[in-house]
């Protein structure tokens, strides 16, 4: 991948708050046209990274570029082509949803005043908020607020969308809608960087994944690449543990070990059929044979840890 083909590229990006590194030397690479799922538990540094990408905060070290423009110097060239949702919705409570979008549009020097109404209503329509456009923002539910924030990122045609936890506060129906919206934006040719702490919410639409844990980017690549990092294991249930272990080792299965009444091993590129045939051929009585291929979710958990603890 060359630098020019990356919609988002960072190198050694680091942000320290005091002595703690919220983001520690990450090299993000989001190819143009990708739907990049930026995953990680709460507090793993996703939002801090996004704030640095958008020029809201300065990194302690490292560089970042958006659409080929180094930030923050290239902000005036890059940001008009970037729609963003950062750390939840934020609007003026006593203005209507429509007036809030008009306010943001007024701040955009590239926005055409003649088409404000059309673009604002078009964006509201796209997130299903047109019916509530005249209501004051303070009367919106969390889900409606989230939709309004997404609408704000769609006021102008964009090359890149940076959506930080876009499904926060949405019900399952809303989550599905956001997923299909992300899909349709990508189909239009936009690059989408979507962060989430829930793999299941973005897995279906993503072409690429990046996984953050405690400020580090622990994995990055296409979904297939990440999946191939998942190491399958075979489990053989047998009474002849020694012979089974010998056969497996002879076939080139690595990490062969006995666990209770089973022999476990990592087959690598070996076809499971060949292993079973070899075991039977060597006279080992096979009671059971299992190939454990971890799901993406298992991988995600193994990379980021599980449980309710947020990383400090």
């Amino acid at each position: 991948m060359t630098g020019a083909a990356l919609a988002v590229a960072t190198s050694g990006l680091t942000k320290r708050f005091g002595s703690r590194a919220a983001v520690d030397g990450i090299d993000l690479a989001v190819p143009t046209g990708a739907v990049y799922g930026f995953l990680g538990p709460n507090g793993s540094g996703k939002t801090t990274t996004i704030r640095m990408l958008l020029g809201l905060i300065e990194p302690t070290a490292g560089t970042r570029a958006l659409l080929g423009q180094p930030m923050p110097g290239g902000a005036s060239a890059a940001l008009p082509r970037v729609g963003s949702l950062v750390e939840g919705p934020a609007f003026h409570p006593y203005l209507s949803g429509r007036a809030n979008l008009a306010r943001l549009d007024a701040a955009d020097r590239y926005a055409d005043t003649r088409t404000v109404r059309t673009r604002v209503d078009g964006a509201l329509e796209r997130v299903g908020l047109l019916a509530a456009a005249g209501k004051k923002y303070r009367a919106y539910s969390l889900g409606m607020r989230q939709r309004l924030a997404i609408a704000a990122s769609l006021l102008m045609p964009r090359d890149l969308l940076v959506l930080d936890e876009p499904t926060n506060g949405l019900d399952p129906q809303g989550t599905r809608e956001v997923r299909s919206l992300v899909g349709s934006l990508a189909a239009d040719g936009a690059t989408v960087l979507v962060s989430s702490h829930l793999l299941s919410e973005v897995e279906q639409v993503c072409t690429h994944l990046g996984v953050m844990s405690e400020g580090h980017l622990v994995a990055q690549g296409t979904v297939a690449e990440i999946r191939s990092g998942a190491v399958a294991t075979v489990r053989v249930q047998t009474s002849q543990l020694d012979s089974a272990a010998t056969v497996l080792a002879g076939l080139g299965v690595s990490e062969v070990r006995r666990v209770g009444h089973e022999v476990h091993g990592v087959p690598g590129d070996l076809d499971p059929e060949r292993i079973v045939a070899a075991l039977v051929g060597a006279g080992v009585g096979v009671r059971g044979f299992v190939v454990d291929a971890p799901t993406l979710e298992d991988l995600f958990v193994s990379m980021t840890g599980e449980g309710f603890d947020v990383s400090g």
Binding site: A7, G55, P80, F91, L95
Partner: protein, 303 residues
């Protein structure tokens, strides 16, 4: 943004286009100067209920003042000639002047303190600041627009007092010649022009305080904290101004010449204090706007 910067930005944008193959590079150059954001800012300020209430309060005082003087008129006649309130009341324009004298001490500084609290700290508090900056609005431009809105706010506030005062005064006391502080009478038309100058002078002082407020507003995410800080600065300035032993400090106080607009109602007007006051206002505005700029353009926006 200067023409050169704009040209550079456009050139950089063009470069980005070839590099990444943009589909949505903004087609036309943005206009060099657009008042759209400023107009949006003013709609935001004027549309806010609290600010509308504030304007009502500003407007109420000169009306109350005019009525009160009218009701007690016979007793006041011929008192201290240096006091607007006790001036001969053949010309209603003493009402806006007296109202400005009263409101410049507290109400108008309070108004600008609230507006400046909203300007940056208020947007940070709501979180709307991050969305404005990622539109993107250049930070220097945002600060310039915010300050322009504060100056307009100061003008609106001061002219509400002056105009409502003038209307109430004229309605109750008429349009006769005005007795100046020098004891000479000036015509009504001349008096109106001097009132306009007096209001502009007051607006300059309030705008200077607005620059202080803008700076304080970049230091916090709590609009109330910024408002209170600006009020404390104002009140302390008034107190220090009242202590004669601290005379050496007085030229540095933002409020020192705020009441000098009464010098416009001498015949001929006494310009020296007015010019000193405008110089102080300009100094405060420049120093604090630059301080706000230095702070805001290097600040991490974590709200």
């Amino acid at each position: 943004m200067s023409a050169v910067e704009k040209a550079t930005a456009t050139a950089v944008a063009a470069e980005g286009r070839t590099e990444v193959g943009s589909r949505h590079t903004p087609s036309a150059r943005p206009p060099a100067v657009s008042t759209r954001l400023l107009r949006s800012e003013m709609r935001l300020i004027m549309g806010r209920r609290r600010n509308q209430m504030g304007m009502l309060v500003l407007a109420a005082l000169p009306v109350v003042l005019a009525v009160a003087v009218k009701l007690t008129e016979p007793h006041n006649r011929g008192n201290d000639a240096g006091d607007f309130l006790s001036q001969a009341t053949s010309n209603g324009l003493f009402v806006p002047l007296a109202a400005l004298t009263l409101e410049m001490t507290l109400f108008l500084p309070m108004a600008i303190a609230m507006l400046s609290g909203d300007s940056i700290a208020g947007e940070a508090n709501l979180g709307t600041l991050r969305y404005l900056l990622t539109v993107p609005v250049d930070r220097t431009r945002l600060l310039a627009v915010k300050y322009a809105s504060l100056v307009l706010g100061a003008l609106i506030g001061v002219f509400i007092v002056a105009i409502v005062g003038a209307v109430a005064g004229i309605a109750l006391f008429g349009t006769g010649p005005m007795l100046t502080l020098s004891g000479v009478r000036i015509g009504f038309g001349t008096a109106v022009w001097r009132l306009v100058l007096a209001a502009l002078f007051c607006a300059a002082g309030i705008s200077a305080l607005g620059a202080v407020g803008l700076f304080v507003s970049t230091l916090t995410e709590q609009p109330m904290a910024a408002t209170v800080t600006v009020m404390i600065i104002t009140i302390i300035s008034w107190i220090l101004l009242g202590v004669n032993q601290l005379a050496f400090l007085h030229p540095w106080l933002i409020v020192e010449q705020w009441m000098s607009f009464s010098d416009l109602f001498r015949e001929p007007p006494l310009w020296s204090n007015l010019l000193t006051g405008l110089g102080q206002d300009l100094g405060y505005a420049i120093v604090f706007w630059l301080a706000a700029w230095a702070r805001f353009t290097s600040k991490d926006i974590t709200s």
